[in-house]
Symmetry: C2
Subunit: 283 residues, 2 copies
């Protein structure tokens, strides 16, 4: 099941070709994207996702994001989705620099996709995660803007390769570290740790994305009396936490039960509490 619509709101056959061979997404991974979780027609964090799409596009020097157009095409996909049989949908928004031999018009489309069975299983069972070196130091975001750190670009070959590598080692998830060992983020997730009733995530200026799901979770946790903080962490901090999660729009609050091959102490009650805080936001 998939639903695809062009940015002008036209529904198209998801099996039919849509992109020209010279589209910059195909040729260069040159564009940006977002994945939004939709449950029974209700989007989660739509505004923050669209704001991040706009920030990513600006970092790539692309034409500004047409917010009303993206709102409309998202609604077109939501309206066409078979909610009776598929109550959850991932809504991908893809915005590329357009055809290289075109008139400069960017390409935009929205795609509704089912949540993979593996993602649903990981939500329930948790994952084994491997920390892998991302190769970057933590001081590059400001001084090397051409590295596009902080932009959610379509150039995700490394993110995919890191996940394949983890899978080849028997893990399901990756947590990237900087060259000095500082914890960064997952290839498609944000890292969250609980310790002594404080939730901590890693600072975007280290060279990572601002997490939309993490932000929603932190707001809910603060309202429930948790302390939250955005601070650099080491792998040791992850290993000695009371709870460790990789969070994202479609994987939600997925717990890490094993880190670098070592099982973490069971934290099921804490996991249920934190997941409950997040789910209550949308109840």
């Amino acid at each position: 099941m998939r639903v695809v619509a062009k940015l002008d709101g036209t529904l198209v056959d998801p099996e039919a070709p849509l992109l020209r061979p010279d589209d910059y997404s195909v040729q260069r991974g040159d564009g940006v994207f977002e994945t939004i979780f939709v449950v029974n027609r209700r989007t989660r964090e739509f505004g923050p996702h669209l704001a991040r799409l706009a920030r990513s596009a600006a970092l790539l020097g692309m034409p500004p994001v047409d917010v009303p157009a993206w709102e409309r095409v998202s609604q077109v996909v939501i309206d066409a989705w078979p909610w009776d049989t598929h109550p959850e949908m991932g809504l991908k928004l893809i915005y590329t620099r357009g055809p290289e031999y075109g008139d400069g018009t960017p390409t935009g489309f929205a795609m509704g996709i089912p949540i993979p069975d593996s993602t649903i299983r990981y939500r329930r069972e948790g994952v084994a995660a491997l920390t892998l070196d991302r190769g970057y130091s933590t001081d590059l975001t400001e001084r090397a803007p051409w590295l596009l750190l902080g932009a959610k670009t379509l150039s995700y070959a490394v993110n995919m390769a890191a996940t394949r590598y983890a899978q080849s080692q028997g893990a399901q998830e990756v947590i990237f570290t900087a060259s000095d060992g500082t914890v960064l983020e997952g290839p498609t997730s944000t890292v969250v740790v609980a310790k002594d009733r404080t939730l901590t995530t890693t600072p975007p200026p280290l060279g990572i994305l601002e997490g939309t799901t993490q932000a929603a979770l932190f707001r809910a946790a603060e309202a429930a009396g948790w302390k939250t903080e955005v601070e650099p962490m080491t792998v040791e901090d992850l290993a000695t936490a009371d709870g460790l999660w990789c969070v994202s729009s479609v994987r939600l609050i997925t717990r890490v039960h094993t880190l670098n091959g070592t099982p973490l102490p069971d934290f099921t009650p804490l996991h249920q509490e934190i997941s409950g805080l997040y789910e209550a936001v949308y109840a």
Copy 2:
């Protein structure tokens, strides 16, 4: 003018959509490519380019490259190109992981494109180059294979952003450096230096591509009595060289006349000698 053919040899309309919205190239920049220079129907370094395509695909864990199929589709594009009016062509080979919701068959196509006017001008006039930090240390290729260093992937958003950054600073070309200042490569070129009748380029194990054009040039130079070496270089080595070039299949042997805003001493006679060595390979 463009000519596009699918890997099965079918010519298609270059203005028509070819890629499904869920193709991994569109979604993730997940695939590999080569750009081959063709002059009056004759390819240059076709074998080395195809070998590098195969190495890149292997590094990404993609199905093996079907060499006879790529040879056939390349010939289809060459046969369809209007050589009378366009004596030079760039032949792009694009090989992606295919549609995410497909049967696992990868996507392949070849595209003949004209050489951009700017590239032709830079061949003649040379370029101003800016050294930019690539953010990586030089020891990652072996110990972090998930970073795909040495693979020519479709995830080129950073390469494009670096070039745009250089252009915003009044330069035309980028030379990436490692985090310790070691010279790496251009976003789409290999760096070559001449000093005391020795040509030097940078070692691929530092985390860069093997250069097809550089390799052809070095073979020709050795045959003409030059010494060649593959050794790490610093930016100071570039600044104090007898000659400095960014070389690639379509830009050929393009000289760098200005480095980080400082004009280099004129080396026109040396440039003519080195360009002549390269062109003689295909005479």
